[in-house]
Symmetry: D2
Subunit: 265 residues, 4 copies
């Protein structure tokens, strides 16, 4: 059976890459685009057109639901749009797969509640990169044995914020399993403000920003006489597609709310 | 309760490091050394002496068993000595923890058989490095998602053999989980013999040998637009000690034959 | 004074990136395109058009010379086209800047001869990456002190040939300065064919090919107790542009034949 | 002609390694040890003895000079001892080779003055690692072309100070050649204090401290679409010996004051 997928945010860079990947997947079909404008236009191989070819754009999720009966709504828009979209989708029996960070804890709670009332899955995955999720899981597992951890994340210098969300999440995940303890020399003497990085849950995070870089992170775990390094390099948006497809497939198998791709891997 | 540990091979480099680590461990006691000579001498802080101080050396495991009643025999000698030692140890009710590679499949089968007949654990761990075992496990798990794998292992130039045992074992472990497939360009054109490394189970292994290096391995797993790298650096023999102590502790908890530290982690 | 630049191969990926970079450079002007077809068409922001806007395409270098009087011909075509283009350019008083590998030694000799007879520079730069050239130069300088060298080059798995041209050139450059000697253990025992890589001038080259990778090389130089690693990552074709612009500027300053960007850095 | 070398600080870890290296060097002889105690004792293969075997210990540099006529005094003691030692050595016609950091600018000026008055070389080399010096030189040269620089230095967690002296010196050396400019996004938003590292001369330095690590530094230089990384790993004190021997040999060739091994490479 083919999974019928609608996309919100299909005009964006992630969205158009996802539209292409879903179209290519043998078990999926891209059936409609949800947008806040261009109602009645069509999307064809990534371009908008007024000619009737490709997939129709809808500004109303109700009409989208009625016309093309999607199984899943892949939502790659911003946090403001995501929440009402997901609420309506669940009400209409469409499974939301949400690839945006920025939902509040309260919004997450509400989606969880509605999803489980309906027995319909709802997946929130702020990071669709399977490689990045594996890095976080492995680092967490390794921290049982090698409890001293530092994280170096490296991005292009157009990135505004530091540290990255993935680095902070990695530290949070590790902090849940390891015994809290002081790292480094207790009498450490820092002669230049910031040299030792940011302290997040007792671990140090270092954020490198240079032109040329794309998106890279390494987690370093040290033990007596050894070092374990888990590194992820993200070179291209295409690296998110296996995670998108996996989430869509899992949304058909599950019946509950799932927060984070790491729950599915 | 304190675990009473005898060591075979205590004069060697690994052995003396282990003797020290066991002596330091709060839940263990180093109770006797098994050797093929120096019967009746004593080992004290890593040196042999004829004065009665430290731990006695025995050339007979039977006498060792009778005099100091060890729970565990940590055997760090060579494959020739290991097998008869382990057989006798099991017969005497002592749990062997064996840190040598080179046992034949037949010898392993026999030890497994005797260990399970007696309901007494016997642990074979050719590599006591927890970090290296984690690297192998993570690489194996990641290969489910990122199935194209190459391994670069790097050692000092005094190492005779290539590829390393750990690299080969990593490829073997991965090959058990991944769908076999051809890697690289099908029409690959190799202009200098050996450039693409050794093919082990369809994966490429590259062995670097340089003065200065210690013992390092990285497993590279590639997917569309991304790379996951799992790297282990072993800087010092001390890095094996957590694995030695963990194996000794586990040998008291288990009642069967265990092949590989990865079964315990 | 503005440097007037014509481009052969402007429709290609490197060519269109270069056309954009030259157009952006404050001291240069993109004045014409040399092609084997589309005579009389125009190039405008990377697209071909029959409307008279942008830069004209010529199939005759003589006509190109007469109409737009370029100072420099940047040639990014294939080896077959490059040689006659460069000969004619020199005859017409236009300085060739050639970004293609594959010229024969004899062709190089002829270009050198003509360039020097005319007192007009001619630059051949098979690799316009300043970063890659720096890597090669530094590795060569370092090999005076740290004479044991291995090279790991890593590319996407669509690359056909191994080892890469840059890796081979690096080994060649190093071999010119270091005392030849045997590397590794003299009694090395290779248990899997190819594990130790390709031997190029006594150095080992290892070629990794994985999906996800772009173009990466590291040169490892080992000495007693230490390792120096020089690594270059090329993430995007834009990284070649500073080398292209530098070569064009230098071609105005020089009056002789120059083989390799490394002569200019 | 054999170079006659006396060592101050020969009982220390660096000193005993150096004594061994000098004894092994075919063109050098270890002729005497300068110490603040043990006058009249002997040093033999790294141990002190009262028996007349090996090299004599002197507490007076004048007596040392008279008895064994050294060409060079290799001084590996602390800053307090180094300065008077070097002054007296120059007065006695012995060339100081000083491997300690911590001399004040005034002391350095005085040594320079005396060394040049006498026409006798005096070499101050706080870091004898040729590999580290090459890293600093290459990074400085590369910064001409790739002007955005971050430094990651990684050491064991017993190291008290951060950032390391080598990291700070690298930034200082680079700052002398590059055009000052702001790195990173001008509107950078740092959400965890210290994430972006220490700012040294406009470059960021990140100091990692983990058990297991030895002494490592990487300099990352980014440009549009590319990254150049120069990394030095120091695994063992022996890595300093080529720099010690080179400095001793150069001290015989030079007649002036030399500050930093980088002046000799």
């Amino acid at each position: 059976m083919t999974i019928r997928v609608a996309i919100a945010g299909a005009r964006g860079r992630m969205g158009s890459t996802a539209a292409f990947a879903i179209t290519e997947a043998p078990d999926m079909e891209f059936v409609g685009a949800l947008d806040y404008k261009y109602d009645g236009w069509y999307m064809n191989s990534g371009s908008l057109t007024q000619q009737q070819s490709g997939v129709r754009v809808y500004t109303s999720i109700a009409e989208l639901a009625q016309q093309v009966r999607p199984d899943v709504l892949l939502d790659l828009t911003d946090p403001e749009a995501v929440f009402p979209n997901a609420q309506k989708a669940i009400a209409l029996g469409i499974r939301p797969v949400i690839g945006t960070s920025g939902l509040t804890l309260e919004e997450i709670d509400q989606l969880k509640c509605r999803s489980e009332q309906k027995g319909l899955s709802c997946i929130v995955a702020p990071n669709f990169s399977i490689g990045a999720v594996l890095m976080m899981k492995f680092a967490t597992q390794a921290a049982h044995y090698l409890g001293d951890v530092e994280i170096i994340e490296m991005h292009h210098d157009r990135k505004l914020d530091a540290p990255s969300g993935t680095a902070t999440k990695t530290a949070d995940m590790i902090s849940e399993v390891r015994t809290p303890h002081l790292q480094g020399h207790p009498d450490e003497q820092v002669n230049a403000y910031g040299a030792r990085g940011a302290d997040v849950q007792g671990m140090k995070i270092h954020s490198v920003r240079l032109p040329g870089l794309l998106a890279h992170q390494q987690v370093l775990l040290g033990g007596e006489g050894e070092l374990l390094t888990i590194r992820h390099d993200s070179f291209d948006r295409k690296s998110f597609m296996p995670g998108v497809l996996l989430s869509i497939r899992e949304s058909m198998r599950q019946r509950q709310f799932i927060n984070g791709l790491e729950q599915l891997i």
